[in-house]
Amino acid sequence: MAGSAAFDEMNGLDGDVRGPYAEIARWLRATPREQLYRKREEAELLFRRIGITFAVYGEGGDPERLIPFDLIPRILARSEWEVLSRGLSQRVRALNAFLADVYGTREILRAGRIPAMLVTGNELYREQMNGFTPPGGIYTHVCGIDLVRTGPEQFHVLEDNCRTPSGVSYMLENREAMLRLFPRLCARHRVAPISRYPEELLTTLKSAAPSACKGVPTVVLLTPGPFNSAYYEHCFLADEMGVEVVEGADLFVQDRVVFMRTTAGPKRVDVIYRRIDDEYLDPDCFLPESMLGVPGLMAAYRAGNVALANAPGCGVADDKAIYPYVPEMIRFYLAEEPLIPNVDTYLCEREEERKYVLAHLDSLVVKLAKGSGGYGMLVGPHATRDMREEFRARILARPADYIAQPTLALSTCPTVAEQGIAPRHVDLRPFVLASADGIRILPGGLTRVALREGSLVVNSSQGGGTKDTWVLEDDLVAAVSAESARSQSQFQSQGGGPGGC
């Protein structure tokens, strides 16, 4: 099913170069391969020097690895992006409404639109959040929505990440790398800029400050520390926002107010962009053995003296067992039809769906309902008989732990492979910022690419790579000439218009 049938974002289904890729196709034809390989080495050097690493555990070898970066950008037309942007905004508004509801009056459960047990019996549901409304009523301030594409107009949401999504630093660094490596190629396109993400993030975080905070809120980023796989990103974002990166031990709570320890004495903290999981936030409230958190943090939060972004308990909205109901949420809270559909999903705990899954293991993708990072996953068409039998046994033993989806023919993008340029499967994670005054989305996201031929697993923990993602400011006409593109870039540099990556 996958592979040959996939939609290629450059060559389409019929082999004609699609409009947004016209210039890239020309560039690829004109650029000798050796030059691309040289540029790739240059890129690797660049990333290693900056120290952009991702920790891969459990495989031995050097745990601090580079995520492979592919030189060929993934391109979306403005019109394509507009649709996605509206759909993402819609989805995140619904997810926030859902969270406010299930920790409040539970209308959606009482209306019978989602089985109550899936929510209140969910291990990601946090009783501690009951009857408390976070500042502005926002729960998931920073949300990463994973999208896949199967055709020219066909995008699907594969997964919501409402807790502590990571990857945005790669989105930003990939663009920086492209600007350094291929300034002229960038200039020949009018690429929508994304560099103000840290500013937008800071604005979002400040707007989450509790009403008790007068004046400019003090924002900090709470990290589990240097051994966390995303530590680089934590430092990068804090640096770009100009806020402190703190560990649990840097904070303390006194009279339900959070302070950080500074050389000039305790300093009050108003907003915590936390990049540690719920269970580790506060040993008084969650896991008592947690050394990463801050005792008394939840009490301070509930007293309205500090804001947490994202709020604890967001996991109940992005759980894979809840995922099939997101379209229902959109209808229920917004009275709208979903603009980006879900992927069909079978919950193995339901007898009928389980029977279907077990009968079609060779064509489905089976995932852990609680898993992430591409671990513990079966891609039916690529699996051996033994692997399928192993999953059959696992599903039968613990049906509630598994969901299944059809194996989608993920779209492909041209990618620099060992044997030249070849199509590889991609997905897209845009980052959506939510605050009481609205939704902010920068045009683009993190494109992940499965570097192995035919592979559908794009996770960086499974050997996936990344690409820069370009959303074009204007829809290029399919036949835009190099000539006119040049004059356009000249105009840009004179006028200082909205382009310039």
Partner: protein, 312 residues
């Protein structure tokens, strides 16, 4: 600044300085070992180096006797010795990684490249005739780090905590190196055997040439003590280190609107004693007592700095 950041900056500088000091001490001891038996007291030089580096109790628990091989193993490689060269580099790099954004790229590279080199070091690189080269490399790395800090850091709080760590560690080191030879530095001492030790004392703080430059005369124990304690021109003298410590603490206090604590008072008191003290008074009190007092107060000052800025 976050207290944890200040702590890491302070300690990464202390560990780096300590690694350099151990390398300097080892280099001198190797020279001395050649003549040690003649000077009486087999292994005396290794024993005094162990005392000066402050980890002798741990050493004797682990090794039967202070032979050259055992001491080199202890002071260079042994992971159980936190003041050894490799553990110092490791600790400095660990602290640097935790506060990377507070460091300049040049400082980070000085520490990170040094650590990567040490990680890949073949064991024979610190053996036999190759040891002096290795010790020279260590001193160069430390100077590279100090130079990077000096040349690239903004003169703000981060710089002050880094330099404070360097200077406090240096003061402690000078006092200890002098103290292990205090019995050989009696004011009425004669040349002969002691002379080699006087040279060694100066060499271990890279001050042999400086001595000749300052005094234009033969080595004399009174002057050696004066140079290493009371002469502000020598960058490793106690008074030079303490003048810097006082200035740095004042700078931090000033930037925080004059907020001061016991650490400021204590640093000022120690500095005043060095600045206004007389050499005769030091010998009247007894050099060993004087130095022990400095060492104790330097440790106290370290705790007070942490109490005021880091654990408050």
């Amino acid at each position: 600044m976050l207290s944890r950041t200040a702590e890491s900056l302070f300690w990464l500088a202390r560990y780096t300085e300590r690694a350099g000091n151990v390398a300097r001490g080892l280099g001198v001891a190797i020279r001395m070992a050649g003549v040690a038996t003649r000077l009486g007291g087999e292994d005396a030089e290794w024993r005094s180096l162990l005392t000066a580096t402050g980890g002798d109790a741990g050493f004797y628990r682990k090794y039967p006797a202070p032979t050259q091989d055992a001491v080199v193993q202890w002071l260079v490689h042994d992971p159980d010795h936190p003041s050894g060269i490799l553990p110092c580099f490791e600790a400095a790099r660990r602290n640097a990684r935790a506060v990377r954004t507070a460091l300049t790229v040049d400082m980070w590279e000085a520490l990170n490249d040094g650590w990567n080199h040490l990680r890949a070091l073949p064991p024979e690189a610190t053996e036999g005739e190759r040891l002096p080269d290795f010790l020279g490399w260590v001193r160069e790395r430390v100077m590279l780090f100090n130079g990077a800090a000096q040349d690239t850091m903004l003169r703000e709080e981060a710089w002050r905590f880094v330099h404070l760590g360097t200077m406090l560690e240096r003061a402690d080191n000078t006092a200890r190196l002098l103290d292990v030879r205090h019995h050989l530095l009696m004011p009425d001492g004669e040349g002969g055997v002691d002379y080699v030790h006087w040279q060694a004392a100066l060499r271990s703080v890279s001050a042999l040439r400086a001595y000749h430059w300052v005094y234009h005369d033969r080595l004399d124990p009174r002057r050696i003590v004066e140079l290493l304690t009371l002469r502000p021109e020598l960058p490793r003298s106690l008074i030079a280190c303490y003048a810097a410590v006082v200035e740095l603490l004042d700078g931090i206090a000033l930037a925080q609107g004059g907020r001061r604590g016991e650490c400021h008072r204590l640093a000022g008191e120690i500095h005043a004693r060095l600045r206004f003290g007389r050499l005769d008074a030091i010998f009247e009190q007894g050099l060993h007592d004087f130095l022990t007092d400095i060492i104790t107060r330097t440790a106290e000052l370290g705790s007070e700095i942490e109490r005021f800025y880091i654990r408050a």
